[in-house]
Structure formats: C-alpha cells, structure tokens
Amino acid sequence: MNTSTIIFYAIAALILGAAILAVTSLKIFRSAIWLLFSLVGIAALYFWMQVEFIAAIQIVVYVGGIVVLIIFSIFLTQQSGKEMAKPATGKMIFSALAALFGTGFTFNLINHYGFNNISAAPFLPSVDEIGMQMLSTTSHGFILPFEVVSMLLLAAMVGCIVIAMKPTEANIVHLNKKED
C-alpha cells in the first residue's frame, strides 16, 4: 500500500462522507456546504487520475458556478438557519433499503464482471489534444456537439431570463385582457 493508494481511499472517504451529510443534513445551508466539499473531493479525484483539465473544469463550473447559484437561491427563497421538516420514517427506511439494495446489486455486478482488457498504457491527455479533437471536423471530431451545446447554453440563458422575469404592468394588463 503506497502513498497514491492511501490518497485515493482518503479522497473516496471525503467524497462519500460529504455526500451522505449533504443528503441527510436538516439545515439547507449546511447541506449546500457539504455538497461543496463533495464536489471538491471529486475534483481531487480527477487530479488523482491525472486529468487536470477535467478537474479544472469541475472546480470552475461546479464549485465556482453551480454551488454559488444554489446558495444564492437558498438565500432568496428561505431562512437558511431554519431546520427543514424531517422526512417520514417509513419513507426514509424504504428509500435507504432501495439505495442499499441498488448499491449491493451493482457492487456484485462490478465485482463479478472482471475487467480483463485493462491496458497499462499511461493516460496523459494534454489540453492541446483535447482542444484539437474538440474542434476537428474529421470523423472523430466533436465540432457538431460543441456547436449544439453552445446553442443549448444560449437557449438556457434566454429561458432563465424569461422565466425569472418579474411581470411588468404592461404584461399583466395584456395577460388579463387575454383571459377575458
């Protein structure tokens, strides 16, 4: 058991412990902070797997973007210090049983599959390669999904503004007229 192995199990314990606390904590703000720790742990796992680019994206998008967005919406919609209602015991037990059964089932499948074509070649993708393949128009390029996802982001941006917009006076009058 060398240092790298120990670091892997420490990161795994951090991810799973923080995730369990994030889904069970009764204070919503604490739950968001535990989610933050879990996502940082996942970024650490990517660093451990030596895919630095994905790790950087994970930190920028999830830790810097989504968690901040979630914390903002918590502040906008409720008192963060207030405890949430405890879920009903029956539901908790059945959900835990379903989750445990699923975990056990999948663990069993993974354990018995036996991945025997594991290659020992080092996997060190450079940002250079990723960028070249991402924007290449040959048969292994990802230019089409790249463009589609940029349209999706534009649509999401417009959609967010439209959904969260406060209805103005003129709009309300217009809507009322429509209803009549």
């Binding site: 892997f8 919503i28 406060k166």
Partner: protein
Amino acid sequence: MNEVPLTHILFVSTALFFIGMYGLFTRRNIITMLMSIELMLNSVNINFVAFNKYLFPDKLDGLFFSLFIITIAAAEAAVAIAIIINLYRSHQSIDVDDATEMKF
C-alpha cells in the same frame, strides 16, 4: 498508480449515485432535490473518466462526454433555479408537496 483497480473507482461512483438517489427520494425541498441530482451527474462523470483512463488510454471520448455532461448540468441548474424563484414568487414555498396544481 495502477495499484488501485478500476473496480474500486466504480464502487465509489456507484455509492455516490445511490446516495444521490436516496436524497432524491427523501427530500421534499426542490433545492435539495437539485443538489441530489448534481451528485448523480457527478458519479456518471467519474465513471466516464475512469473507463477512459483504464480501458482506452489512447482515446479521449470519455473526457468529451464528461465535458458535455458538465455543460448540460450547468444549463440545467440555471433553468431549475429560475423555475424555483418563479415558484417561490407564486406559492411562497418551494416544497414539492405545495405545488400540486398539475397533479392528476
């Protein structure tokens, strides 16, 4: 580096997925349900990167899949939060049990 077998990374991501599923089943607050969904999406990303690293180190497709999943998760979180704010404005609450107008 290769002392940790692929299966152990898959165990971590499986456990993370089912923790997210447990959260989705027990929570009644939309924001915390969204957080559970983020956990599940992250477990899928770990799987993609691990398979790419261990089974196909000469290709990059797993990395691209996880990049696109991260992008779509960001878009999804933004739209979901816009919906949450709109729901709070009309119902003064973000519990799923309080929004039952469209329930059949």
